[in-house]
């Protein structure tokens, strides 16, 4: 990992739960789209809130959901993406850059493993470099302090932004509700404050 932005040691890895806790404190009203597996479990273990949308499937489309949401609302949208999931759909970054919503921050938890299937290694890449090649603003971190600084910059950036945070693999015990339709309705109602189409 490049240390150009963080000044952190290459060997360090941040605590994903501490970083998740920080972003919730910093952005208490943000609408959050969490990738299936560890990203969702970590989010649910820090705080289960109506503005959390947890994916239970569809690996590879998490960032796409965040993009569509950011285009549909003026609220701050945060995507909690996994490195394996992003790698499955890197092409979406070109669409994110083309649309460029300034209310979208994509956080990539780079734990370098497929956490939900047993920790098999991800054949990783330089995700921030890939994002920049697509035209996105992207920074890296590998400590909680580094993440806090990059996350603040990403929120302030006038365009879609990405923070790639290298983290220790974690295995939180918390699980979001399995009632996927309930998660959808709760999230949508929290954002729209009406009964919508249901």
């Amino acid at each position: 990992m490049s240390s150009e932005d963080t000044g952190d040691s290459d060997r360090q890895r941040a605590d994903q739960l501490a970083c998740t806790e920080h972003l919730l404190q910093k952005s208490p009203d943000a609408a959050i789209i969490a990738n299936l597996g560890v990203a969702s479990y970590a989010l649910a273990s820090v705080e289960d809130r109506p503005r959390n949308f947890y994916c239970w499937g569809s690996m590879g489309v998490t960032t796409s959901i965040g993009l569509g949401l950011a285009l549909a609302t003026d609220e701050q949208v945060i995507v909690l993406e996994g490195d394996g999931s992003l790698l499955m759909s890197l092409g979406v970054l070109s669409t994110v850059a083309a649309c460029g919503p300034s209310n979208l921050v994509i956080v990539v938890w780079e734990n370098e493993v497929y956490g939900t299937t047993g920790g098999q290694p991800v054949t990783g890449i330089e995700y921030a470099d890939a994002a920049r090649a697509c035209g996105l603003w992207a920074r890296e971190a590998n400590t909680v302090e580094g993440f806090e600084a990059r996350y603040a910059e990403a929120l302030a950036y006038d365009g879609a932004a990405m923070v790639v945070c290298r983290v220790e693999p974690v295995d939180p015990e918390a699980r979001p509700q399995l009632d996927f339709a309930h998660v959808t309705r709760r999230f949508r109602d929290a954002l729209t404050d009406d009964e919508g189409d249901r």
Partner: protein, 169 residues
């Protein structure tokens, strides 16, 4: 009124605000109209599967979306439809040019295109195939209404007999 006028009318009558698409020769005229219409926010996709995510986000944000693509692209969306749209109860309208049947010259388009409706049926995604330009506005209108009332996607498959087959024979 052409079938393209009818689709535009059906989308606008039902407040469809976001259209995600990949280029397709059969839908070229429709995509150009949508891009030029300030009533629609257009999202140019790199892969049709991403459209399932984008339009799910559209719905989560309180708006309505449609996906325009051809049947080969629909093939890339199956996991998204089956593991996001259907179980999470997230609707959108799919308008898909269906290859592989009458007018098809390309063997690579046949297996999925010909079976597209059956595959959607198998994963519980309702769909209709339209063979002619009669009643297109009515079909789009009702498809959007049932999708957003029932809270799951609905796909209209437009055959080459409607959109005009490529003259490659």
């Amino acid at each position: 009124m052409t079938w393209i006028d009818d689709v535009i009318a059906g989308l606008r009558e039902n407040d469809v605000s976001t259209v995600a698409y990949l280029p397709d020769s059969a839908l070229e005229g429709l995509i150009e109209r949508v891009e030029a219409d300030a009533n629609f926010e257009t999202v140019p996709l790199a892969r049709e599967e991403h459209g399932i995510g984008v339009l799910s986000g559209t719905y989560l944000g309180g708006e309505r979306g449609a996906l325009l693509c051809q049947s080969s692209g629909l093939a890339t969306t199956i996991n998204g439809l089956a593991s996001l749209s259907k179980p999470a109860r997230i609707p959108f309208l799919g308008i898909v040019s269906r290859r592989g049947d009458l007018g098809e010259f390309n063997d690579a388009q046949v297996p999925f295109g010909y079976a597209a409706g059956e595959v959607l049926d198998d994963i519980g995604i309702r769909n209709s195939t339209m063979e002619s330009s009669a009643n297109v506005e009515r079909a789009v209108d009702l498809a959007v209404k049932t999708a957003f009332s029932v809270s799951e996607p609905y796909v209209l498959l437009l055959d080459a007999t409607l959109t005009g087959a490529k003259d490659e024979f």
